[in-house]
Symmetry: C2
Subunit: 729 residues, 2 copies
């Protein structure tokens, strides 16, 4: 029996905290309904009220509250640079940047424990590249299920599903990594381990801490030395920091409410309160973001009628492709998406109903009905899955987790206020989980933002760069919602040729065309102070300089294999571009051994950078290494047998006051004695007799491309002059 649909009167009771489950299991925030069964409470996932819906038990708090005095307890008070509210993947990604860069940051979460099962599970190649840039990509490679193939099943003439296509998963060659799947708890553990290492255990999630109020002193927002934001937080008791989950014995994603919400009565008084003065606040607190509510930002968009269940099970089945990603359309029982998981687990996304019922509560006609998620059980989802999979069989050896959701798509109209308080992740965008994008795009939001905040906090850059966050990431969110809207319709639609049906050919074609998008590697940031290219009308048009025709400005610098000049070791260049806060200026000098012009250019460039007048010297504090703000890298295109380490200007080799050479900045796009290299110029569209000068941002995106001569150097200098602040020397 399909799930029943109930009214919307108790919508506030059934919400998800998407900070713990960004996107891939995000209920899009308006599907939450009354509770019937509350016999079991499973203490895993926290919850937050939905700021976007009318609520019954507590008022919609105005954007800024100031009351921090309703307790008799002594109040601790402290200043920090950044406060991160919400320890989901987006929060962790911000934290790892701050840990890596030594920023005085804290991260709090109102949940008492980490998550252990279920939730988001999809990691796109770009996310894995970013993990690699923080040094832990080997962990998904070892632990996760990695996608290499996908299969499509559709009805045959008898209405039985059968395999119609076997296709490559992802895009061959776009990244060293393939999309991988593992439960969110492991991913958060990798972050935790890396953050511990970078911060020497000083930056750790503080929990359960609930923010109570956020006040901004607008008179101070232009003063970089001030702490204009005041957040009061209270420490919850353990009892109040567990979520209130539906009455299933299994872990699941169906929650009633979280006792630890801001306006709730607490079973026990908070243990203590604290006042935190911060320069910046990041709200990575999920689809029902409290921070977003404080800013008065209301997401725009709406829900669909498509209702889906999710099962994480160890299946017993004769479907031969159960360990591949499968998209299955049945004639009339709905669709399934199969995502193999780590170990023996498989995640099933199972369509439960084609449309929700009309609401029965007297809502105006056209109001979308909500699923009564309390009625969703694993048995019910499994029963539906069996119908869709027929004639293949499905039994379950073990169920680890389940949930249900109604697809909706929303984007926040603003991602920040005052360029001081930012929201990211599910707080900014919610959508269906099926493209496997949610957690990824949430992490990439803060990957985009946190280094910029760090730059400003460290006095390296003007606060003006912070406006690029919303410009860059809101476009990505809109693209995602657009993609998800089309995908959801095609996936949830009934296959056929008549009215109200969808074409499976169109579906497969859409997936094919969208596979580059879903790798995360095609994100293309628009023109700004940080991205030097012509403004564009259409965000889908990529821009490359004629100097590097395959190196698109605003997109991530692609990986290639280069040979370290000093020792002949081949490297994936990404491995030498860690996320350490540095800008990179890459001089593709061309074949300096064949062209006297290029050789002379390189000598001039080297001479410039050896001078104390260079812009690198200007932006680098006197007590720091000369490569600490901008790392100068050389990639030549001369033959390995024809070029020696000391053929290059000292600016690329020597930057240590001890006279020890720096051997690690010069690469050749040349054949290694062990092979497998020598095609980087070609892949980037750079001519060996011309070369190019490339600026790469600390997050790995291409800022500009120009000529590898003094004219180009001057252009790069002007580019940096646009936002970097000269160091006091």
């Amino acid at each position: 029996m399909p799930v029943s649909i109930a009214d919307t009167t108790d919508a506030d009771l059934l919400v998800n905290d998407s900070s713990t489950m960004p996107a891939i299991l995000t209920d899009t925030s308006d599907a939450d309904l009354p509770v019937k069964d509350s016999s079991t409470v499973s203490p895993i996932i926290t919850d937050a009220p939905d700021a976007d819906l009318p609520v019954k038990n507590f008022s919609t708090t105005p954007a800024i509250t100031t009351d921090t005095s309703n307790t008799d307890q002594p109040i601790k008070e402290s200043n920090i640079d950044v406060l991160i509210i919400g320890a989901g993947p987006a929060g962790y990604m911000a934290a790892i940047w701050f840990a890596r860069l030594g920023i005085n940051a804290r991260i709090i979460d109102k949940r008492g424990t980490k998550i252990f099962t279920g939730q988001a599970d999809g990691l796109q190649p770009r996310a894995l590249e970013v993990f690699n840039s923080f040094g832990f990509a080997h962990r998904p490679l070892k632990e996760a299920s990695v996608g290499f193939e996908s299969c499509y099943y559709e009805p045959d003439a008898n209405g039985h599903i059968h395999k119609v296509a076997r296709k490559v998963e992802g895009v061959v060659g776009i990244s060293r990594f393939n999309g991988s799947v593992i439960h969110q708890g492991r991913i958060e553990q990798w972050f935790t381990d890396a953050i511990d290492e970078f911060s020497n255990n000083t930056l750790q999630v503080e929990r359960p801490l609930l923010p109570e109020s956020l006040v901004v002193d607008e008179s101070k927002i232009h003063d970089q030395s001030a702490y204009p934001i005041t957040v009061t937080v209270k420490k919850l008791s353990d009892d109040d920091s567990v979520p209130d989950q539906f009455g299933h014995k299994l872990e699941n994603g169906l929650y009633r409410q979280f006792a630890g919400d801001q306006e709730r009565e607490f079973a026990t008084p908070p243990e203590s309160r604290e006042i935190i003065h911060a320069k910046y606040v990041l709200g990575t607190d999920g689809a029902h973001s409290w921070v977003r509510k404080q800013l008065g930002i209301v997401p725009e968009g709406e829900s669909t009628d498509y209702i889906w269940g999710v099962l994480d099970i160890v299946p017993i089945t004769n479907l031969p492709d159960i360990r591949k990603r499968c998209a299955i359309h049945s004639v009339s029982d709905g669709s399934i998406m199969i995502i193999p998981r780590e170990g023996d687990l498989v995640r099933f996304y199972i369509q439960l109903k084609e449309t929700a019922r009309e609401p029965e509560d007297g809502s105006p006609p056209g109001t979308k009905a909500r699923v009564d998620r309390s009625k969703i059980t694993p048995e019910l989802i499994l029963e539906r899955a069996r119908k869709i999979l027929h004639p293949y069989t499905l039994d379950v050896a073990e169920t680890q987790w389940f949930t249900g959701y109604q697809i909706g798509q929303r984007v926040a109209p603003k991602f920040e206020k005052w360029e001081r308080v930012f929201i990211a992740g599910d707080a900014c965008h919610t959508h269906s989980p099926k493209a496997g994008q949610g957690m990824n795009i949430s992490m990439m939001d803060t990957f985009n933002l946190a280094w910029k905040i760090a730059h400003v906090v460290q006095g390296k850059a003007s606060p003006a760069i912070l406006s690029t966050y919303e410009d860059e990431r809101r476009q990505v969110a809109k693209d995602l919602i657009d993609y998800d809207f089309k995908l959801s319709r095609l996936f949830s639609g009934k296959p056929g040729t008549g009215d109200g049906t969808i074409s499976t050919d169109e579906f497969r074609d859409f997936i094919d065309k969208g596979s580059a998008f879903t790798t995360g590697c095609t994100v293309d940031y628009g023109a700004s102070a940080l991205v030097s290219k012509p403004p564009r009308e259409d965000s889908n048009i990529k821009y490359a300089s004629p100097l590097a025709t395959e190196l698109f400005i605003g997109m991530r610098f692609p990986d290639s294999r280069l040979v370290m000049q000093c020792d002949g070791r081949p490297w994936f260049i990404h491995d030498k571009m860690p996320s350490d806060g540095r800008w990179r200026l890459i001089d593709f000098s061309g074949d300096i051994k064949s062209s006297p012009t290029l050789a002379a250019q390189l000598v001039a460039v080297g001479h410039y950078f050896s001078s104390p007048e260079s812009f690198i010297a200007k932006y680098t504090p006197a007590d720091e290494r000369v490569d600490s703000v901008i790392e100068l890298i050389l990639v030549h295109a001369s033959d390995a047998n024809n070029v020696e380490w000391d053929d290059f200007p000292l600016a690329f080799r020597s930057r240590d006051s001890r006279r020890v050479m720096d051997y690690w900045k010069i690469y050749g796009d040349m054949e290694s004695l062990h092979g497998g290299t020598g095609d980087a110029y070609e892949k980037l569209g750079i001519k060996r007799d011309v070369g190019a000068l490339v600026v790469v941002r600390p997050d790995g995106y291409v800022s500009m491309v120009t000529t590898p001569d003094m004219r180009g150097i001057n252009e790069v200098g002007s580019f940096f002059d646009g936002f970097l602040i000269p160091a006091t020397r």
Copy 2:
């Protein structure tokens, strides 16, 4: 000024503990001389008396001592399966096997601390493969210096050195790993972390614990339930567990003696004594092995006249290839080997004298003189290096460690006694460090031995398999000594064409030919109960079956890239053959979709293994997974578009009582949609229309190759019958 050479009368005072520095910095045990300067004692490396030389301050203990009662303290007593004495790389490698396999083992060391600088540093590709099989090969990939090129410098007509050749380092394609260099302390840390993980922190080095006596009850050595070996150990005070080092401020490898030796007076009484009853004892206690002395085994061989110094420095030099491995012969100042290390470090091996002086102590003519190592200083070594490197310059930004040694080569005639007490590593073989083999071959000794002991302790196999240890590893040691003998002569010799000179052409040719040997990947074990091939006359002749002409029996199963049938993921097959104690039976079934014969064979084989009468069932305990002793793997050669998961017999797919399929045993040697696969049959010399059945040992070496049909299965059954013990079911 070259180092002075003194007499041999105090030879006992200047010894190395090669358990802490196997091979690459091993003094070969007879070069130890009197001490003049003792102002500074550096508490890093321990030491042990040399059992092989006449000693002055204490007697040469007879093989077995029984006195365990010379203390009033209460004596703890316990039974364990295996006691490892000596926590250097060989000891750690044994420990990781026992941790991985859940064997009740302990590892003790008399040193109070780990090492932090210097010592051995070379990791050959095979060692990295083994690290990979224990799950930590990513650590050297991240941390170590990896060798890809080497350069040769020789005198020009003016007597100035200049580069004469640039060559590939190692052998292209022989392994996924290249030879890597990092200091021994890091390697021991990786072991420690992995052992902690495998053993859940229960197997940890106990230190400082000094063994005092070893008694074997010969009446019990054939009783597998007995604990025939009794070892008394005493806990040292911290003061007594530090080494007595020469009077340099720097860490170095020049020791006088270790206060904590068995027959010494202790500054403080031992904290406690303990009696350990063990089934097996491993002596991995270095070149001056106490265990070896207890067994009465005396190494055979002798020292040469070649005297070398070692410097670990951060160099300042204009030698352009300083970050490549360089072999440099000067006209008359000796030779240098340059080994780039992790970070900015470089290790220099520098020839100090061409010949040692005649001894001045009245020794018989022909007695080799010893270096007075107390006279060796970093300044002296550097001075010599500068002469050799001229006209290139060499300055030092930082010296981290140094030592000096005289080359010698020795092998123990026996590696065990009663098949109960074993020695391994430097206790068995010592030689020069220059081939970078010592630590590797030491680790590979216990990698060969420990799983066999585990098999016997677990009741899986007959104790008869233990004799293969000495057979297999002593041959390797002899091959190494032979190689080292020739290399030392060519490297230490004066280049030229006249009498008493060596040909540098011959030197380079020797290195070229030996590069496969130094990868560690060409070790070839002889015929035995564990290696099914014809006996051979010459250990250099490899043997392959006509069924798999490039798969040599007795050698390690080479890596290749296969595609997992169930999900299309390409795998390096080594990544799916971890060191977990299991035998592997790999059915290269051929192209079953093109050959009805092969298909029928596979059905028959599957039928056999689905039966409770199969030898896999016979050797597997009823309460364990069916793949816990012998893992059955299928590698077909059919086209990916032509073959489905359920085309294969259930024996290869189903082995779980819950009816969950085992998806992880079937591979195709087929093109992955992402490319890069499909050549494994060809590389192994297996015909796609014939196939082969391959048995691989738990340590990854090929035991046998036969036909992939019931005749072959019966042969494999007989092979296992030769040493496996049927499980009680």
